[in-house]
């Protein structure tokens, strides 16, 4: 096992070393998906923008909240949720998708995880334009809290990445996992405060606090909206990043050599 962990560390070091590979290929992935279309990757942004504006105005009526509070709230909520979905659901495919490469090239395996994570970040950046527009429209300015949001984003990404690493490894072996995760994530959407706010859950708010995805969203969303994220959320995402990465990394180390045989 120690030998396997040492090899996994070398895999990690080599993957970080070949950053040019995943940065370039990740960019190409996004670019090629929209080759020959006039506005390119901004199609992702556009479809989300329509959802945000439509749902924002309509649901603020249903929930009887003020549009200038509710619309920015769901704008950033949707953007972060799309990011989590990209990380976790597509994360199941990190190794399966690039199976033909893994079986042919001795490139370190974490390269594929970094590529998928980087691709998710690029798409997030495209979507984030929506929030900038909304923030300008409603004159939201959070000042120094943007640094807090940045830290939150790093923690969010670290958490999404270990989930992708763990799920990607398991999915290589068990092909039922990706569809299970996909339906799980779509159910979670309704149980996580994206469309509704935590205080709306009333007696179920403890239930919301048990949802790790709520905390992952909150550490980015709250500072961006000019509020402070609850200390509990910071605690949960930090501990989860640490424990999650240790677990996922050891799991990966244990099965790393089998992945080329599985995919």
């Amino acid at each position: 096992m120690n030998l396997q962990v040492a090899r996994a560390w070398r895999d990690l070091a080599n993957s970080l070393g070949s950053w040019q590979l995943w940065v370039y290929v990740g960019l190409q992935d996004v670019r090629l998906r929209y080759r020959r279309s006039a506005i390119g990757p901004f199609w992702i942004t556009l479809s989300l923008a329509v959802t945000v504006v439509g749902v924002g105005i309509f649901y603020s009526g249903i929930f009887q909240s003020e549009v200038h509070i509710y619309l920015p709230y769901i704008a950033i909520g949707f953007i972060i949720w799309a990011y989590i979905t990209e990380l976790v659901v597509d994360g199941c495919l990190v190794f399966i998708h690039d199976g033909s490469y893994i079986r042919q090239l001795p490139a370190p395996l974490l390269t594929y995880l970094f590529k998928a994570t980087w691709r998710a970040i690029i798409i997030f950046a495209h979507n984030f334009v929506i929030f900038i527009a909304v923030a300008l429209w409603f004159r939201i300015w959070a000042g120094w809290a943007y640094l807090e949001a940045l830290l939150g984003f790093v923690l969010l990404t670290l958490n999404g990445a270990w989930m992708a690493l763990f799920l990607g490894t398991v999915s290589g072996r068990y092909r039922d996992v990706p569809p299970i995760v996909q339906s799980g994530v779509s159910v979670l959407f309704f149980l996580t405060p994206v469309l509704w706010e935590r205080h709306a859950a009333k007696q179920y708010s403890t239930f919301v606090d048990l949802n790790p995805f709520y905390h992952m969203i909150e550490v980015v969303r709250a500072p961006l909206l000019g509020n402070a994220a609850p200390p509990l959320s910071w605690l949960v995402v930090s501990v989860m990043a640490l424990v999650g990465w240790s677990f996922a990394f050891l799991f990966f180390a244990r099965y790393r050599r089998r992945i080329a045989y599985w995919v």
Binding site: V25, R36, I102, Q104, Y174
Partner: protein
Amino acid sequence: MSGIKVRNASVEIPIYDVSARSLKKVAMRLSVGGRLGSDAGHPVVVKALHDISLDLTTGDRLGLLGHNGAGKSTLLRMLAGIYEPTSGSVEVTGKVASLFDIGLGFNLEATGYDNIRMGGLYLGMALREIELKIPDIAEFSELGEFLDVPLRTYSQGMLARLSFAISTCVNPTF
């Protein structure tokens, strides 16, 4: 000094058919006591390499002869570090350049030049190194202005030229 040292290496490749791979089967196995033929516990294993030992040093040339399925490609994959041996060890000093699938890594929507860059990166080169090699690759492939258009416009022969030009531009240690 480069070299390859293989000691008693074996490679066993598990074959998971659609049913053996599913979670349902694993869950069923937990709840049901009996084992049914090939659906039971262990997947079918192909013993592709059995107890291989060899030493190669600078200047050696090795040819592999064998019928289909003898394990030639598996041995090469093991030497390239793609398959780690299930038992025994492989020790490689130096850099390995491998060429298995000729069309690997091509993206048909990307241009010839973009594909050269991606192919080079996958083969372990740095972008700066690739840029230096692009003129050579372009000349070797004889594709000229076609390198500026997407690969989907290429003929099979042109694709073969390009992939060969990319694959052979890596400098392994001799």
